[in-house]
């Protein structure tokens, strides 16, 4: 057993604002509790049976004014707190900065797999540099999990079938616990990990020292051929399928008139549910690969297609 601790470590750029709102609420709540408790105690003593104090009725007009007064005061106070909290949330709603380090996270019963852009992968841990925005692209292989790092004050559910994004910027080097906070079955309480925040140069050294795993995109390229994707999407294909070079990150017109941006979620959906978004001018002939790919393979394929963004970016 250890000493009494009232407060978690704070190690992200979000933490100070969240803590400020928390402290603000603690102060407001404390004041309200104090006022209500004091009034109850004072009334209970002063107006207990047998005391000789005035007990006449307050005029009904005064009572109505009190009611309207404290209703409005409460409403305004609550609206004030709401706007304060919502303004902070708007900051957190903004999209991740373009230079963010993209890391893939796969959650499954009951472990975390993380993969760096260079293909270095970890299990139940994640090394990240301090002072650099980190963007997580998260998928679940089975049930809902939730990525929760108390020291960063961030949390996001990972819903199977969805691509979930979360970004943050760590500020203080150190090792912080990662919890799965959405109940996921037997070993929910053992689905833990370590987030290791390192100074940027240490992170570079750490990356270089990792066993040189196949580069994610390179591995994806191999799968791309193995699974026969190149038979249709390749350069010399006989079947007419949308070209993938330069596709990533660009708007794609669809046959039903919508225009979507080709991000990770779109690429994944196109592989798993090809009938969902048909590119304008093409036939819906692609089969679904959902039964032939696990999360790891999918991540590699998406990384490969992402790497084609720089190529052949014609108009």
């Amino acid at each position: 057993m250890n000493e009494f601790r009232f407060f978690p470590q704070a190690a992200s750029s979000d933490a100070p604002q969240t803590d400020a709102i928390y402290f603000g609420l603690v102060i407001v709540s404390g004041a309200v509790v104090l006022v209500v408790a004091t009034l109850i105690v004072v009334f209970a003593i002063r107006y207990r049976r047998g005391t000789r104090v005035g007990r006449g009725a307050a005029s009904s007009l005064a009572s109505r004014e009190f009611e309207i007064g404290w209703t409005l005061a409460t409403l305004l106070a609550f609206l004030g707190i709401f706007s304060w909290a919502a303004a902070q949330d708007f900051v957190q709603l903004r999209p991740p900065p373009p230079g963010a380090l993209a890391i893939d996270v796969v959650a499954k019963q009951w472990m975390w797999k993380t993969q760096h852009p260079g293909g270095q992968s970890e299990i139940n841990s994640l090394h990240i540099p301090a002072h650099q925005p980190v963007r997580l692209l998260m998928h679940s292989q089975d049930v809902i999990h939730s990525f929760f790092v108390p020291a960063f004050r961030v949390k996001k559910d990972i819903v199977p079938g969805h691509t979930e994004e979360l970004w943050f910027e760590a500020t203080t080097p150190g090792t912080y616990p990662l919890f799965c906070s959405e109940y996921c079955g037997t070993d929910h309480a053992r689905m833990l990990g370590d987030i290791v925040v390192m100074a940027p140069q240490d992170y570079g050294r750490w990356l270089a020292g990792q066993p040189q795993g196949d580069d994610l995109a390179k591995a994806g390229e191999g799968l791309f051929r193995e699974l026969g994707c190149s038979g249709c999407h390749g350069e010399n294909a006989r079947v007419r399928a949308p070209p993938l070079a330069g596709l990533f990150g660009r708007p794609v017109p669809l046959s039903d008139g919508r225009i979507v941006v080709a991000d990770e979620a779109y690429i994944r959906d196109s592989i798993l549910l090809p009938k969902k978004d048909i590119v304008a001018g093409y036939e819906a002939i692609m089969p679904s690969f959902s039964s032939r790919l696990d999360e790891g393979d999918l991540t590699k394929l998406v990384a490969y297609i992402r790497s084609l963004a720089a190529q052949g970016a014609g108009p």
Binding site: M1, V36, G54, I144, F179, D187, A189
Partner: protein
């Protein structure tokens, strides 16, 4: 020297009361008397309360140490699910409307019974059938999904008795719907002469608001349970993404019921507390009309805040802002009620028997529970503390600190009316103070645990959380003692207690104008209501002020 002169002072002795109307088992199991049905519900909900309480005891023992202790991981998951399912669906939701509500609603409005006495009995059988299914799944091996049944875990991955439990909740839900319907019709059609809408006691208003929610929200829960069973048993893809379903759809459906259900679990408590505080402050309730509007306001706005359970689920950030705003809004009427209870004490003539102590304890615990709701309505703070012990502490302050305190207060307040006997006030006051202290001791540390980041539903946890868990478990021992004590002195009172007169508290309200226990048909003559409720200080203002 006539026979009339020899009549005993209470007429109940002559005509018998609802308790003496029959002594066979059949006279209880086939009764349509709302008072006897209330007693049936008291028996069944008490049983569920102690089953759920036993599960809570196991949880607090397990969490005394950071490592896995007396329970395996699977064992713990089954125990906390059992605790949640039994306490929410089979205790907290039905308990006040079906026990005190059933007993008092017709008495308080001057009616002979509820509008549909047979449907009332049917409700009890439905709740028993549902409870039996839930208990069957407990005995057969348990269920491990948490009371929230999140998909696709519950519909595809769990190897436990989800179907039987879901069926149990489905069946019991119809008991709730029927009770809600019965109460609404009763309040609309069976009020005594002079009992206008704005002369209704606030407990009746709180039952009215609660019944509206039960009637409108419970069908959504029933449908959701059917969809879980459909996916689990027949493989129809509704929530499972691999079959084209959406797990988030489940959360919308579930919380569309379960958030309003939180208000089912608190509104009747607010009603009880108003009856008690006015009686022992000898004071009219401050701002009666505002209290009524606040009850209805909570019930209505409560339908539009469910999304605040899903701030980290991937729901649109803009939707979350709207739900956050509405959640702040629904807190306003709750705050008004706290201010009004406090103001009711002003210039009162206050005494502190056990029911009053429970009621004042309710105000304190409800205030803390309500204020911590603001933390959870604030998006950035919610993102950090949702799915942690902060949430656990918050809803226990409302549902246990609030509702269970109010229930105990109500049981102590109306016990003389229900049984015709008095109980030991000193034991009862001791239990009330013990419950308040034990409750805070148990649950306050969990707020701190939550902000530290301890997730819910962990049977083992990192050692840095142990200090607060040990405190919480220690508090639970005190709380358990406070819950067990009334069993003793109530039993003693029932067997050997002094007779209570028809109105031992000198309270207003029609239920106190008939004998204790009331006769089978409630009133010997149709009552009349010439006055506003809580007329505790008529004329005194002119004499003293």
């Amino acid at each position: 020297m006539t026979d009339i002169a020899a009549l005993p002072p209470t007429r109940a002795g002559l005509h018998g009361n609802y308790l003496s109307a029959g002594h066979t088992v059949a006279s209880w199991l086939f009764t349509t008397d709302h008072k006897r049905i209330a007693i049936l519900y008291i028996a069944s909900t008490t049983l569920f309360f102690f089953i759920g309480g036993a599960a809570a005891t196991l949880i607090r023992i397990e969490l005394f140490t950071p490592d896995s202790g007396i329970l395996t991981a699977d064992g713990y998951n089954r125990v906390f699910t059992l605790h949640g399912v039994i306490m929410v669906f089979f205790f907290l939701v039905p308990v006040v409307p079906s026990t005190l509500g059933n007993f008092l609603l017709p008495l308080m409005i001057g009616a002979r019974d509820v509008a549909f006495p047979k449907i009332n009995l049917l409700s009890w059988y439905l709740s028993i059938a549902g409870g039996a299914l839930a208990l069957y799944s407990l005995l057969a091996g348990g269920i491990d999904t948490g009371w929230t049944f999140y998909t696709p875990y519950s519909s595809i991955y769990s190897n436990s008795f989800v179907t039987a439990t879901a069926a149990g909740i489905f069946v019991a839900g119809f008991g709730s719907i029927a009770t809600g319907l019965n109460f609404i019709v009763t309040i609309h059609t069976l009020r005594a002469r002079g009992m206008t809408w704005f002369r209704l006691p606030l407990f009746v208003w709180s039952l009215y608001a609660t019944s509206l929610i039960m009637l409108l929200a419970t069908p959504v829960l029933a449908m959701t349970m059917v969809l879980i069973i459909a996916e689990r048993v027949f493989g129809i893809g509704v929530f499972d993404p691999e079959r084209g379903g959406d797990p988030i759809l489940f959360q919308h459906l579930f919380w569309f019921y379960s958030h309003p259900a939180v208000y089912i679990m608190i509104l009747p408590g607010m009603g009880i507390v108003t009856e008690i505080i006015t009686c022992f402050a000898r004071r009219r309730v401050f701002g009666y009309e505002f209290m009524v509007y606040a009850l209805i306001g909570i019930a209505v706005i409560g339908f539009f805040v469910w999304g605040h359970h899903m701030f980290v689920s991937g729901q649109s950030g803009y939707a979350s802002l709207v739900f956050s705003f509405l959640s702040f809004l629904v807190a306003v009427p709750s705050a008004i009620k706290v201010f009004n209870w406090t103001a009711t004490l002003y210039r009162g003539e206050i005494t502190f028997p056990a029911p009053m102590l429970y009621a004042l304890g309710f105000v304190g615990l409800f205030t803390l529970g309500g204020l911590t709701g603001l933390f959870l309505a604030s998006l950035p703070v919610d993102i950090h503390v949702t799915q942690t012990y902060f949430v656990v502490a918050h809803f226990h302050y409302i549902m246990v600190g609030g509702m269970v305190s109010a229930l105990f207060g109500g049981l102590h307040f109306w016990w003389p009316k229900i049984t015709g006997k008095l109980y030991s006030d000193s034991f009862a006051r001791f239990a009330a103070v013990l419950m308040f202290l034990g409750f805070n001791f148990t649950f306050f540390p969990q707020f701190i645990l939550g902000y530290l980041g301890m997730p819910r539903r962990y049977h083992a946890y990192p050692p840095e959380f142990q200090v607060w868990n040990v405190l919480s478990s220690a508090g639970a021992v005190i709380l358990a003692a406070a819950y067990l004590m009334p069993l003793g002195y109530f039993a003693w009172s029932f067997l050997w207690g002094e007779r209570a007169g028809s109105n031992p508290w000198d309270a207003t309200g029609l239920e106190w104008q008939t004998a204790s226990p009331p006769p089978e048909h409630n009133f010997e003559a149709p009552p009349q209501v010439p006055e506003v409720p809580y007329d505790y200080h008529p004329g005194r203002e002119s004499a003293r002020d």
